[in-house]
Symmetry: C2
Subunit: 233 residues, 2 copies
DNA sequence: TGATTGCAGATTGTCTACAATAAAAGCGTG
DNA sequence: CACGCTTTTATTGTAGACAATCTGCAATCA
């Protein structure tokens, strides 16, 4: 019944999706100020719904705002990366613990399917899609245990992660996930040893952390050289 | 409560606090519909800021909304309780792992201070304050590790927990935490064995889960008898 | 009798205009 | 040239009116 719904969604909800993808696609860079009027103009709506969508992303942590002063895209910081990745380890291990006994054929099929989509995006050299596919792949465990609270926490982490990876991609070009980087992950996630899977999560995250951290540090270095003040427009 | 003493904060931000405490104090019961106009009138503001505050609580999960139809306070459900408590175990153990080596004299002092406030509220038979104090006590570990992501996840859990406990309190009168219920928790949290603390968290949560679950089940029973129509979705 | 359709009320969604606030720019003065 | 004050401007905050949509009920018709 919902197949051919034309305007089933409210405007604000659509704006959230559009604005998020605009940020993650790099149209608005991390740290860059965004104003309600400008965005409203950009998306062809009034300030009301636009503001509402922005508040939603503020709640999610993708935007930060100072009352009566301004709003800007979340800036990249080395400190936050440790938080993000340690949180990932905690949540993903928990997700697998909860989902472990619920895994069935459908789970393994879905896992394979998402892996296929990831490989497809990598082969197509489509990094934006590859990033999304990798996060979808990791998201399966969270979805499978059916804990809404856990899922919303993962969403918060995912948003930030995507922001960092997208920035990384734009700075260094092709830097998406390697083709074989998830082979072990998939194998163990569908295997019989929860302990082995936990270890894989740890080492998987460790690799991701090192990579992401190195990038942001190089960015900090670069920024320090060009303008000691901060951002230039 | 002091309506508008100082206006350092923006109106919407104050409304969030007021509305939340109104919900948690039971002025608006779980499952009860709330309308923007009624609330705006109640707090003496326009629909704009009121709506904004409501959207914030919607993002936090304390309110649920259906487009063009209505908004209501989150309803109590037995299924969610398992999610909440398993999430609590996961997050709180992680918080102590992260904070463990950072604990110092200030940490132990603050822990003692919050425990003191909890006992004070219990002795004063002030259950609402006791609930808040207990959550503050548990919150210390989260605050201490300085992970913003973790803290926001804890906030989400805390809000729901508070909703359940407050409902419990209103239904059964004095049901707040017992005076000695946190002695072990405090002792081990300031002690030398992380493993012992993890065990304590597990058993502490187990007790809380059983108690809360029994309450909601009794509530479901009661609701099933009085009104068969039941507005469950 | 049963289903369908039209109507009324309520509620949220959106728009426009105006006020409050904070940061930046201008400017005179020592 | 630096300093402090005033003015300006950009931005968000708030208000009220209007439009779109949903729900329930009653009138209508086979």
């Amino acid at each position: 019944m919902a197949a051919q719904s034309i305007r089933r969604e409210t405007m604000g909800a659509q704006l959230v999706a559009m604005l998020r993808s605009a940020i993650l696609s790099g149209e608005f860079a991390p740290g860059e100020p965004v104003t309600e009027t400008a965005l409203a103009l950009r998306f062809g709506v009034s300030r009301g719904p636009m503001r509402e969508a922005m508040r939603h992303l503020i709640d999610q942590g993708l935007l930060v705002t100072v009352p009566y002063t301004g709003t800007r895209v979340l800036d990249l910081s080395t400190a936050d990366i440790n938080d993000i990745y340690s949180m990932r380890i905690c949540l993903e291990i928990f997700a697998f613990e909860q989902a472990w006994d619920r895994r069935d054929a459908a789970f393994r099929d879905e896992m394979a399917e998402r892996h296929r989509k990831l490989l497809e995006a990598i082969d197509a050299r489509d990094d934006v899609r590859a990033i999304d596919a990798e996060l979808d792949l990791h998201g399966l465990a969270y979805e499978w245990c059916g804990n809404k609270l856990l899922l919303s926490s993962w969403d918060a982490v995912r948003g930030r992660l995507q922001l960092y990876w997208a920035a990384h991609h734009r700075a260094h070009g092709i830097t998406g996930p390697l083709r074989e980087s998830h082979d072990d992950y998939i194998r163990l996630a569908c295997g019989d040893s929860l302990e082995a899977m936990k270890n894989e999560i740890h080492s998987h995250m460790r690799r991701g952390l090192d990579k992401t951290k190195a990038f942001v540090e190089s960015l900090d270095e670069q920024r320090r050289q060009t303008s000691p003040n901060g951002r230039t427009k």
